[in-house]
């Protein structure tokens, strides 16, 4: 049952990926997660709406959502499964940001599939 759900989730993420050709990363690309220089660790989310909600919600609402997020160390490797262009909108952003679905490929959360903010995803050059 668990494997079936995982497979469905992967298929869904892949479908979204096909529909978003203009994202800055594409399906299959290997990336490194790294946030802002102030605090480079990255929050990864179990759903795309929560990812969006986190960046537009109040502090208290965002705090209440934290159990749905994992904190990964900066430099954690991942592979892109899908990407939705300009999905994350925040009054504090100059422009909307992408939502990127990834599979973590290193560290203690290896194998986990989550959503991450487009600007926290850095492509590797090897």
């Amino acid at each position: 049952m668990r494997k079936a759900v995982l497979a469905l989730m992967v298929l869904w993420l892949a479908g979204v990926g096909f529909a978003s050709a203009d994202c800055k990363v594409h399906r299959g690309v290997h990336v490194v997660l790294y946030s802002t220089t102030d605090d480079p660790s990255v929050l990864i989310w179990d759903s795309r709406p929560r990812l969006r909600e986190y960046y537009s919600a109040s502090f208290d609402a965002a705090q209440a959502m934290l159990p749905h997020a994992l904190l990964v160390a900066p430099g954690t490797h991942a592979q892109v499964l899908s990407c939705v262009q300009n999905y994350v909108v925040s009054p504090l952003f100059h422009s909307p940001d992408d939502a990127v679905g990834v599979t973590i490929t290193s560290g203690q959360h290896r194998g986990v599939i989550r959503w991450v903010l487009g600007s926290d995803v850095r492509t590797t050059h090897h």
Binding site: T36, D38, L43, F59, A62, Q63, L71, S90, L92
Partner: protein, 441 residues
């Protein structure tokens, strides 16, 4: 026109000062905003220092990082307070509120993340890390929002300064244009007026020179005369004098001052001169000459505002007897060995009323001088604005002995006393009886 020019100049100067004041004010505001921007970056650095110190302590348990943490926290409070004061002074309520949120987040972070870790650095829980990340994200975003608002305010001030400079330039150009146009108009108007006045003056002077008597020799007498025009920008007045021989022993002596100035007055002097001559050929008494002239003048001119003061004398050069009539002309004197005396007037000015005129007789002695002048002599003012008045007699008494010398010295005196303030022309006619008995007496 001058008032318009001054007003334009005043507007231009006032606008310049006003713009300068506005720009000063805007620059001051800009400086404050820029200072806040710098302080905000310093605040963010202090916040990151706090967090990094905490990480350092968490990883190493070195108390050095606790000191760093406390130092950064203390600096944060002071810097945040300085920014808050500036924002309040600049009435930037939006950034001020965001700064409050930022400070509150940092305070909560200290309580909820930093304090537990400082108490027990070994228990660095995952949830605490997540909360740390949450605080970090929100603080970064809040600072970004403040930064953006301050940058927008600064850009707005820069734009405002540029607008003020542009507006100032346009207004300066406008007032300069207005001033220039008014100056050109004023200059053109003044040039035209001066040209017209100069033309009129030239015509008038030509007329007056033609009408004024040339030196006429009289038996046993010497005749001197002088004429002084007022300053160039004044129209020429209507002064006239004449010495005309009626017979071998009798001479008509005339001096008159027509009210008014310009060509009209000059033409009247010709009228006066030749009419008096014509009447004098028929009438032997000055009073009768004045009466007849008064009648003719009133009928011919018909202007109730025009009048003439006139002295008419008939001098017998054989007896040295002067019979005269003075129609309101009081600038007439006789200088003798005993001093200078003024000849009384014998009737009103001409052209005003038909009053009878009377004759007066003066017996001159050898060496005596008859001095006839117009009111340019007695009405000349000194620097203090005082009229010469009766002091003219003193000036006459001190003048040289000969007739022409006396006339010239009087003119020189008036020039010196009046300087550029001469308002009226001056005519002088002096007749001096030569020493010794007349040959045909």
């Amino acid at each position: 026109m001058t008032a318009f020019l001054l007003l334009t100049l005043a507007f231009a100067v006032q606008a310049t000062f006003e713009t300068r004041s506005q720009i000063d004010n805007t620059f001051a505001r800009q400086a404050e905003i820029q200072q806040s921007q710098i302080q905000l970056e310093e605040l963010l650095r202090l916040q990151i220092d706090e967090e990094n110190s905490l990480r350092g302590y968490s990883l190493t348990r070195d108390e050095f990082y606790v000191g760093q943490y406390r130092q950064a926290a203390s600096g944060y409070a002071a810097t945040e307070d300085a920014i808050r004061r500036t924002l309040a002074a600049q009435q930037l309520y939006g950034p001020s509120q965001l700064l409050g949120d930022y400070a509150r987040l940092q305070s909560e972070w200290r309580n909820e993340v930093a304090a537990p870790l400082l108490r027990n650095p070994r228990n660095r829980l995952v949830e605490l890390d997540k909360r740390n990340k949450l605080f970090s994200d929100y603080e970064t975003r809040t600072v970004a929002a403040i930064r953006e608002t301050l940058a927008a305010t600064n850009a707005s001030l820069v734009h405002s300064t540029q607008q003020q400079l542009d507006r100032s330039s346009y207004w300066r150009a406008f007032w300069l244009l207005v001033f220039g146009l008014l100056a050109i108009l004023f200059n053109a108007y003044r040039s035209r007026a001066n040209r017209e006045l100069e033309q009129e003056r030239t015509v008038t002077e030509i007329l007056q020179r033609a009408f004024r008597s040339e030196s006429v020799p009289l038996p046993h007498c010497e005749v001197g005369s002088a004429y002084l025009s007022a300053t160039d920008h004044m129209a020429v007045g209507g002064d006239v004098f004449d010495v005309y021989r009626l017979s071998s022993t009798q001479a008509l002596v005339l001096i008159a001052d027509v009210s008014g100035k310009g060509v009209d007055a000059a033409v009247l002097t010709a009228f006066i001169k030749f009419m008096i001559r014509a009447i004098a050929l028929r009438q032997s008494e000055p009073a009768a000459i004045l009466s007849e002239f008064n009648l003719a003048f009133s009928k011919a001119v018909g202007n109730p505002y025009l009048f003439v003061s006139m002295f008419v004398g008939v001098l017998d050069t054989s007896t040295l007897r002067l019979q005269y009539g003075s129609a309101g002309h009081d600038c007439t004197y006789v200088r003798s060995r005993n001093g200078v005396r003024q000849l009384p007037v014998t009737g009103p000015v001409l052209g005003v009323m038909e009053e009878p005129f009377s004759n007066e007789t003066v017996d001159l002695l050898p060496g005596d001088t008859l001095v006839l002048a117009t009111d340019g002599l007695t009405e000349v003012r000194n620097r203090a604005g005082e009229l010469l008045g009766d002091d003219a007699m003193g000036v006459i008494a001190r003048a040289g002995p000969h007739a022409q010398q006396l006339a010239d010295e009087l003119v020189a005196y008036v020039k010196e006393r009046g300087g550029r303030r001469l308002r009226d022309d001056l005519a002088i006619l002096a007749i001096r009886v030569l020493d010794g008995e007349p040959a045909d007496a």
